[in-house]
Amino acid sequence: MFLQLFFKASLAYLWGVGMTPIQSVDSAAAPGIPAARSGAHPAVLDDLWRECDASAWGLTRTDFDLILSSLAAAHNFGLEPEEAATRHRQAGWFLSLKLNDLVLARACAAGNERAWERFVALYEQQLIRAAIAITGSETVGRDLAGQLYAELYGLTTRDGQRRCPLESYRGRGSLIGWLRTTLAQRHVDHYRLTRREEPIEEYDAPAADPVTAQPSAELRLLGEAIEEALRRQEAEVRFLLASYYIDGRTLAEIARVLCVHEATVSRKLHRAIDGIRKQVLRNLLASGLSRRAAQEALGADPRDLDLHLKKLLQDPPSESFQEKVAL
């Protein structure tokens, strides 16, 4: 009895790590075939097919396999492009997806009426409330939600093809979260389209004062030291500084975005400011100033500095996002 149980447990564990019982440990540990080329394991797809009940939304098994295989090929199961995914890794990655939302979204994109009924029942009211919350106006919010709903339904066409934004949903987050983010995108786009002359972000760069004399050497060194210190900060610190000091977001809002506690954001901000101050001091010392002169330079009036913090914090990345992500 015990041996039987132990044998079953061993088999199940070996299956879980993607290893068959007759496979050697070395062969199981060795890099397998890249998943981007091989696609998902059929047994994993079988399990997922049974779990998702995708046939209820009119999806065929072929459609289902194609959807998951394309996702797996695009993301390589969350691994680096050259890495190979074991069967266990494949199953884990697929289970991390919101497969039920994904199946529903793809069925809606395919025009399945039953799926649309389900979608409307689940998300219509949430979509309207989210739009009102984003725009701050019920009228504008309902308009925004209606426009997105029509867009999702596929009323827009491009090159004669019906286009549905739901096809871009890949299940890595919840469908309602994706809808809210899409609403926010549409709102920002609409804002920028209608107010081109009044952009959302504008420089507060002061106009050049021709009368102003050239800054002193200490202030010039201080400006350079601050620029250098800000450039050296990590992305999270720059996000905190930009969100808090430039966008004027509260600690709670920043904390929700980063999924951390509000106190954590506050602590990180204080730490970042202290670190930047020390870094500026080091930069000043490195530039040849004495410690006393550097301390005095730090006490200079910020208005005397020719610095554009927005520009400093919001320099575009050295390479585009799409090049990095390579989705």
Binding site: S10, E253, V325
Partner: protein, 388 residues
């Protein structure tokens, strides 16, 4: 529009939403964070979406197409992780149980640790009805402190219920104090300890004060019996033989030798916690207490009957085989079968020449065995037997 504020390419809604829901792998999350740190538009989208999420609570669970599928999914995922430690834990538990699970023999031994069973008294012999008829449960005298020792009294009462011959303990006590051969009960019936030692007075007889030395001797005897009872209760393996002859009992007034002219009363406490009293009139003088613990005969059985006399022990096993050993030697010698049938009991023959005074020299003890047909064989040394 400024190029610095609007990078050419932005992450799509899928990536931004996954970033907010912490559903991205760390490298991709770092890239998104790097982008929104510099891109005010994407940062604004993120904050707007988060604001909408805060104001419109999301249902806790995404719509499930099939609850059974979800259950299977969770179960399968959990067990996939837990298989290895669960199997290891089960292995440890099973090995531990195999190593330390108590053996059945130990269980049987433990099961015997029960309160003692009631004393089994043999049927009174035909020669005793007169004495038995005189036994009356009488109230103890006020001067007898032993009346408070109910446990000891009960133990002694149990022992006293054993039919004894005319030369009982009380008779000896009386003989020592009195004139000699006539037993105390026979000579002058007196009130005694409650039910102890059988001898009492007729119900209609007036209570007579008991002589003080006898009372003291009786108290000390009770103390001895009390200790005996404690030993019996504690070990359940002690065979205690109570011999009045070998015990010197001192009274408060002086030395009073209380000798039991009667055969000693033998009480055995076996593993089954039942008292076994040897037949009356079969124990000689000088029988020492014998421990029955761990007595195992060469045949592999425990003895069903055992008797000791003159530093020699004879035992009978359940198969009827007889064994003898000298003193406290560990080796049992098998005795050649010289009797008919199957021996079922061994006992020590009561010497016929022992007088009522108990002062006569004791003749050598003889062993008796009784077979299943109730025939008796006698032996002096336990090895050579002849029919009686």
């Amino acid at each position: 529009m400024n190029q610095a504020l609007q990078p050419e390419l932005h992450p799509d809604a899928e990536s931004l939403n996954a970033f907010m829901e912490r559903a991205l792998p760390q490298p991709e999350r770092a890239q998104i964070l790097e982008h929104i740190a510099a891109c005010s538009q994407c940062r604004q989208i993120v904050f707007l979406s988060q604001q909408a999420a805060a104001e419109t609570p999301t249902p806790t669970a995404a719509p499930e197409a099939s609850p059974q599928a979800a259950w299977y999914r969770r179960w399968n995922l959990n067990w996939r992780i837990a298989w290895a430690p669960a199997a290891a834990f089960a292995l440890i538990v099973v090995v531990t149980l195999l190593l330390y699970w108590p053996r059945p023999a130990r269980q049987a031994e433990m099961a015997r640790n029960t309160p003692p069973a009631p004393i089994v008294s043999p049927a009174p012999s035909p020669s005793e009805p007169a004495i038995q008829a005189e036994v009356r449960p009488s109230a103890p005298p006020a001067s007898v402190k032993a009346a408070k020792k109910s446990d000891a009294i009960n133990a002694l009462r149990e022992l006293a219920e054993e039919p004894v011959p005319a030369t009982s303990y009380t008779g000896v006590v009386a003989g020592e104090i009195g004139t000699g051969s006539q037993s105390y009960a026979e000579r002058a019936p007196t009130s005694q300890a409650p039910g102890a030692f059988g001898q009492g007075i007729p119900a209609n007889a007036p209570a007579e004060p008991r002589p003080e030395p006898a009372v003291a001797a009786w108290e000390e005897q009770q103390q001895v019996a009390d200790e005996l009872s404690k030993i019996n209760k504690a070990t359940h393996t002690t065979e205690a033989r109570f011999s009045a002859k070998g015990d010197s009992i001192r009274s408060s007034e002086g030395m009073v030798k209380a000798r039991a002219a009667a055969p000693a009363m033998t009480a055995k406490s076996t593993l089954s916690s039942s008292f076994e009293i040897s037949p009356p009139g079969s124990a000689p003088f000088g029988m020492a207490a014998t421990k029955a613990e761990a007595v195992k005969l060469p045949s592999g059985f425990a003895p069903v009957s055992i008797a000791t006399a003159q530093h020699r022990t004879v035992a009978v096993d359940p198969a009827g085989s007889l064994f003898v050993r000298e003193g406290s030697a560990a080796n049992w010698e098998p005795v050649v079968h010289q009797w008919t049938g199957r021996a079922v009991e061994v006992r020590v023959q009561q010497p016929q020449s022992v007088g009522a005074s108990g002062n006569a020299a004791a003749p050598p003890a003889a062993f008796e065995i009784v077979n299943d047909s109730n025939l008796v064989w006698v032996s002096q040394d336990g090895k050579t037997w002849k029919a009686q």
